[in-house]
């Protein structure tokens, strides 16, 4: 399963539960799809699922504004 699909399924299943699907480029912040607790849940999921550590300084909008942005962030973290 691709990273993008894993994130999509998690977001739809756990956070954006009123949505059936999300576009990879859809703005999660500007559309009000995710809230502050949702961000914390997502980060916790990313850390457990992909064995990465997300630092305070990385908790910025650029990394969470869409599924594509989260994918790019996770890939960057995994590549060290």
């Amino acid at each position: 399963m691709e990273l993008r699909d894993i994130l999509h399924d998690y977001l739809v299943g756990e956070i954006a539960t009123d949505r059936e699907s999300l576009d990879p480029g859809e703005n999660l912040l500007a559309q009000g799809i995710i809230d502050s607790m949702g961000i914390l849940k997502l980060v916790s999921f990313l850390e457990d699922r992909f064995q990465i550590q997300v630092g305070d300084a990385e908790m910025v909008p650029e990394h969470f504004e869409s599924i594509d942005a989260v994918c790019a962030f996770v890939q960057k973290k995994r590549n060290g």
Binding site: A30, I34, D35, L40, D56, M59, P61
Partner: protein
């Protein structure tokens, strides 16, 4: 007692008792005043707290009066908002465990808050804490140590969970964002909220 200055024992005892009584009366007055100040307007409350020694900047909203016996050890920057129930502590009384061996011991710490920082309800700020500017301290957080500028802090022990820049779009686009509510009279506000949340 200062070296070289001899005070008769009896006089010293009377002075000590008067000193203790004065301290006790001060504490009683300050706790009474703290309760009364909660009923006062923000500007009056801030002026009184400043008079007691708390260093509070300009344009602050302060809805707590729980400042320590050493209010001068607390500094709050400009344009901060402090919700009710928030407490600032500048001393550590756990020395009482070691009182037998160290009867005169005391431990203190300062609290410094930058500009444009918000404290939710019932935050506890412990001694030796420096909170930067543009921070949000979430309800019930227990904060100690260094909090960098632009941080959102939650929990006990309080930890930085995100940058303020990330919380901003979340709030701006929140599904329950309702502008203009503070200007509405109570019954109108209730009507709008009931309709928004589908409460009959």
């Amino acid at each position: 007692m200062l070296p070289g200055i001899e005070v008769p024992k009896e006089r010293f005892a009377v002075t000590s008792r008067l000193h203790a009584l004065r301290n006790k009366l001060t504490v009683i007055w300050e706790s009474l005043e703290a309760k009364l100040l909660l009923l006062a307007g923000n500007d009056f409350r801030v002026r009184r707290l400043r008079k007691r020694g708390v260093r509070i900047g300009e344009r602050c909203l302060v809805y707590t009066t729980t400042f320590p016996a050493e209010p001068y050890l607390v500094r709050i920057g400009d344009h901060c908002a402090i919700s009710s129930g928030t407490k600032f502590i500048t001393h550590d009384a756990s020395w009482i465990l070691f009182e037998d061996a160290h009867p005169d011991m005391d431990v203190f710490g300062t609290i410094d808050v930058g500009d444009n920082t918000y404290f939710g309800l019932d935050v506890l700020v412990l001694p030796n804490t420096r909170i930067g500017s543009n921070c949000i301290i979430g309800t019930g957080a227990v904060v100690r140590g260094e909090i960098p500028d632009n941080s959102v802090v939650m929990g006990n022990p309080g930890r930085v969970v995100m940058k303020t820049s990330l919380l901003k779009p979340l709030l701006l686009n929140h599904k329950n964002r309702l502008d203009g509510m503070r200007k509405l009279p109570g019954h109108e506000k209730e009507r709008v909220l009931r309709r928004h949340f589908g409460i009959p």
